[in-house]
Subunit: 433 residues, 4 copies
């Protein structure tokens, strides 16, 4: 046992009236909601990078956090893993996620980095075998090192493509070994800074072929988890090819992958693309590509990715409602891709940020489930579209423009609009928040 | 002849040094650029709606323009057409565009509106036969009348779908009759205000089926022009299904229409979706769906569609460069979907706004063509990706992740990044502006 | 009694567990919170314009609402007032607000408009004397008519300035007569579309002098209410001089009016200016110019003023917390500057939108009050700044840079940062939501 | 001589037709524009931080640049200065700017940092005495080190305030010694992350008192340069107190400093605050607080500060037009607060980015000057406001609302709007671009 979290107790459910900072007031893992344990609904995961690898820097300032594990040795990497699993225990989370660069020191060569990765993966495997917390997904950091500055799979230099392929292979192997439920790809540098020096068509095609190779390799090694793409419109690149869910869908279909790959949707990325989080979830679900979520909130007044812990359950309930409507997660989960603020220096801050985030989500889930079970909202939706159940409506779809024109003429159609009742539905919604 | 533009001369090319407000300084229709007359490159079109139907209102104020043709009779509709063709003559534009609602009075019933449309279409046909200006595209206004408030093809009420189908049929017939080069669909109400009352999946499927019907009808009537979708992320709806080019591409592929339908890209819509205009054009071209453009500029500080006339040729040159790289327009053109400001009351303002816009575009085209002919930028781009021409690079794409990993190991790859040279290329660019 | 709201009952408090759409679940006017009745805290007002004058149009579509009082006669104006007071009764609101243009038909001349205003004001006075609902504030619409297209007090034409002055005088007289608690100025056209045709310095000075004249007239006629400026950054103008609270403060000080004029802060306007609502309130309070609020919400994904009814109490609680910290309203109130969606056609929608908005605010107030009474947040804030209570800290402020440098040297200062504890405070906050 | 820029020639003016990358095509220092040498108009400055201290990192990736002077010793600091002056010579710029942290290694204590600063300042003084390039302004970096994470003058900890005061004193002394023309304060951390832990009123008052101390110290030491505040709305803080020019003006007036302090306006910051660059300049000029500019461009699609080199002269001409209208710079200048892109690794990129930026500005200046000398735009503006020159217009301003109302009645005023002629003026503008 390290002493990093010394004095911080295991977090337990104490109910809404608890005033104990170190307790859940809403998240009760064993409570059954719509026939499923809350823990199985939420499938919470901690992100290794924000919690253990981020030094507290921003574009205008450097490290603020003092962490005993910061540095580049294998011993420190193992200390980091020890602390991480202590935190997972304190929070009682079922999952965690990582990039290779979060867990192992960078080597001078690919081989060195790979050896370090293998060693840490073994260490994490031991940890997993003696703790509850398992791997939700693994991924490769192909955006921080300067080699990736012009892209990984979309790099103008084929050697970088090769390096990226080798890197993803290594991380897929690691994820398989650790029993990961998914493998994620986020393409922070898969985009461009300026069209002037970019062959957009070639880059997209390279990205498409790369993703096909990932899927082929998945099948080859028998990885049963899902392959997930994480959309983001920009930042760090000016434009990223995986802009949003709709863009990713078009990309998947273009490369024949829409049955093979799903999306990992992040609230902050949705907002940067001009969408609500619930829109992105609903759209992905309707297209059959909903996979998992990165849970955070962005600041609505800031034009970059602030990755803050969620703290408004009323807002998050809209997202969980769509997740529940879609049938909930299969391989996916609720990963806190959220970082404590740069000024939140204390170990307690790290724990309490997750406690608050988990409670916010739990409260959102309960509200969403209650409304879904009540049925009033779904009934109102069904009523609004009830006309489409009729035979003549179906005939409109199967017929032609001319058929429709004939109907308009024959029946003298002059449709009167009906109220959309938005505010009434918002009131109904609020009854459950 | 009406006297609306009394005293305003025909606009002629006088060259860059002219100080005559009523002359082109850059647009010289017969000047040959890259082997084509400038008029044939630009294919300028005037938008009937902004120039002749918009009263000068905004969300906080009503009509500012006094136009003798405002009103709802057939006589006024014909007067409007007379003035419109007088303006087309003054500007010497080869094309114009319209919605049904711009050119005919609204009837109390579908049949009445249709009769009015037919009568005006005949009148416009006569106009076209005695004037240079022809129809670039027709379209249906399925967003202004209250019947469309909850959508046209995506309306919860199937009767509205039928009405929309009949409306598009009538407009396609009109466009065919007038020899239009394209038929456009912009779905301002094909989206939603709130997910709470929306069946997103059903609505998208109805929109998809509708578009299939449009394509089927096109083939049936032998319309040779292109069918174009015009992407826009929002406004008036909170979310529109045709968000941007990438979204439309995914939608087309989902409904098997990517060979049948192209896009009409608007600068202002691109910006509202978080893209540059040139990005949208380049992406469409790379996907094989580039059709036409709506030329305007948006105010970068305003979060809505300001539809202003273009006045920065340096900015527009980036767009024309991508158009030229894509081989230029086939059926498409440069439609001024731009309105004079609400305070620009005088007939002169209407003429001069177009003169300025045409000159801005002409100057942008010339700069773009010069740079493309020079070749330096394209050579720099080709150099940057030259590695991909090698056999071992091609092998990377045809192989597997494991093959790539073997290459990394065997060759001890440790790729060094190379400068992207963005500022040098921007300087090069500026040599041609 | 008109029959517009036929069948809709008076709205009464039934408590959180009520499932009656036509009941308050949180707003209980007589409940005492922090020593004051909830009605006296909230001082709710209905906006005449959105509820009774807006036809349901947007930039892409016309009227959707059918209201029996739409039209331009005095009889219809009185019918509108009858319906308005019926709604006020149903909602049991203590206040309403209007522009002149909302309540009277526009005349062909100033004198005609003034006569119409006087007649309607008398009618409203009678209404007020027989109903509970009184006037929170009056204002002049100096943005909709084409005469205002280039500004009112900032118009290039002095005749428009004169017309504006006469208009405000008339409206101040009307507000005084009706016992209004405030008089508001919102300058939607007091700004510019382009700097090219604008004398920014002269326009700001004219606006400043105009506001001085308003204050002088207030004192002359003995109006005891507050004069309020309503900041907005843009829309309809590209830039408006009353951009945000900080801008208005600078403007007031420049013209010697910071003791005479306060601000009416709107959530949607705050957001368009890049601020949170609570920021604007806190800043105004800290500068001594907090007056009143226009309560709505904007859509965070839309770049224009959506003026929706508030429906997220967790968000609004932050605003009410700042209002309570500032001591609550004096003359101000909570005015619903919010409109039902264009598709919300039914009379029930209009009522229920207000019911939902009032409940959202009431819930927010209760949460904010509980947290303020608890004291934990204020204690945490005080602790963070406790160092500034010490004599040596005060000496730093009264001394010079050199004195401070001497302290640093003498004491060898090397300050260690302390956690800002943001997430812990957010969790604390959420205990009260 | 170092060999960092080996092979790069001195940049000289060769005129618009030059195809030499390493030449100015528009910037001709000795060319006389409106009676002044172009060099004296532009007063170009290179920013030490972006060009010599920034490693090429962004929030998602680390260092990309290999620079021989990176590191923390005095010897490297001097090497950096050597290279910097070599670049100043190559570019022939008259000015440079720095933060203390750019030029000296950080010490373990204040005293150590101060000693290092003094030593480097002496070294820079020697450099200046043997080179053309002099100091435009100095400033203190009070945002990067973790001690500033919660603010400098606005820190909750008075010890940090003291440290900040000592730091600014040291930098003002350094600036005085080097003959700097201005001293700048940018408050990147003078703001907040969350209102929950912030005493906004106290923080603003501390910032105000701090600025008074700066002004007092300036007078005490006889610094003749200007004190400049640099507005920015946010980033890195969620909200910064120096939001924009209007906000800074209100702040200055509140603390009695509007005659003592001016603003340094940055294009990118203007855009993040929702303004155009030219708006901020025009407003500052109209308020008598225009000082200097930080020249860069932001990407209009990105919501953060991209600090790119300007490359659109048509856009920058609007800014230079306002600078010329304001009489040009006095102590201020055109500082390139611009960084080459993270992928622009080569020394040539650093030089050519500045060459392109200088040419863009020079071209913009020439266009702006030509238009101003032509007079047509100013005449149009004067005509538009000519009514205000009349005695009856002046009487409106000196009189009361009642006087104005009497005029409206007596003269039966019913003002007709006149065209704002925006597009015509835009066309006029473009004649000079």
């Amino acid at each position: 046992m390290t002493d990093f979290f010394k004095g911080i107790p295991q977090i337990r459910y104490e109910g809404p009236s608890s005033t104990n900072e170190f307790a859940f007031r809403h998240y009760n893992p064993d409570e059954v909601i719509m026939g499923k344990r809350m823990e199985d609904h939420m499938r919470f995961a901690v992100a290794y990078w924000h919690s253990f690898a981020w030094p507290g820097g921003d574009p205008f300032g450097g490290q603020t956090f003092d962490r005993p594990w910061f540095g580049d040795s294998m011993a420190l990497a193992k200390l980091k893993a020890d602390v991480a699993f202590e935190m997972f225990d304190i929070l009682n989370v079922p999952f965690y996620c990582f990039h290779d660069a979060d867990i192992r020191p960078e080597g001078a060569t690919f081989a060195e980095s790979k050896r370090a990765l293998d060693e840490v993966v073994d260490y994490l495997g031991e940890k997993q075998s003696s703790h509850k917390t398992q791997l939700l997904w693994g991924t490769a950091n192909m955006f921080s090192h300067r080699r990736w500055m012009s892209g990984a799979a979309t790099n103008p230099d084929p050697d970088v493509y090769a390096y990226a392929a080798a890197t993803v292979k290594a991380n897929m192997d690691a994820t398989l070994k650790l029993g990961g439920a998914n493998y994620v790809l986020w393409g922070g540098r898969e985009g461009y800074e300026t069209l002037l020096n970019t062959d957009l068509k070639a880059e997209r095609e390279h990205a498409g072929r790369f993703l096909q190779q990932v899927v082929e390799y998945k099948h080859k090694i028998g990885f049963k988890g899902a392959i997930l793409i994480e959309p983001k419109p920009q930042e760090p690149s000016k434009h990223q090819y995986d802009y949003d869910v709709a863009t990713v869908y078009g990309f998947l279909v273009q490369f024949g992958l829409e049955k093979e790959v799903k999306v990992n949707i992040e609230q902050g990325h949705a907002i940067l693309a001009g969408h609500s989080f619930e829109h992105e979830i609903a759209l992905a679900a309707s297209l059959g590509i909903f996979g998992s979520i990165d849970m955070n909130r962005n600041d609505y007044q800031s034009g970059w990715d602030t990755d803050q812990f969620p703290n408004n359950h009323a807002e998050k309930a809209l997202a969980f409602y769509e997740i529940l409507r879609a049938g909930g997660y299969t391989t996916g989960g609720t990963n806190f891709d959220a970082k404590i603020r740069r000024q939140s220096l204390d170990p307690e801050d790290l724990i309490l940020a997750h406690v608050g985030g988990m409670d916010t989500c739990a409260r959102a889930l309960k509200a969403a489930a209650a409304l879904l079970e009540d049925g009033a909202l779904e009934n109102a939706r069904a009523d609004r579209y009830a006309g489409w159940e009729k035979a003549e409506a179906k005939a409109l779809l199967s017929g032609s423009l001319e058929d429709a024109a004939a109907v308009v003429t024959a029946r003298g159609l002059n449709p009167e609009p009906k109220s959309g009742r938005q505010e009434r539905l918002e009131n109904l919604w609020n009854r459950f928040i």
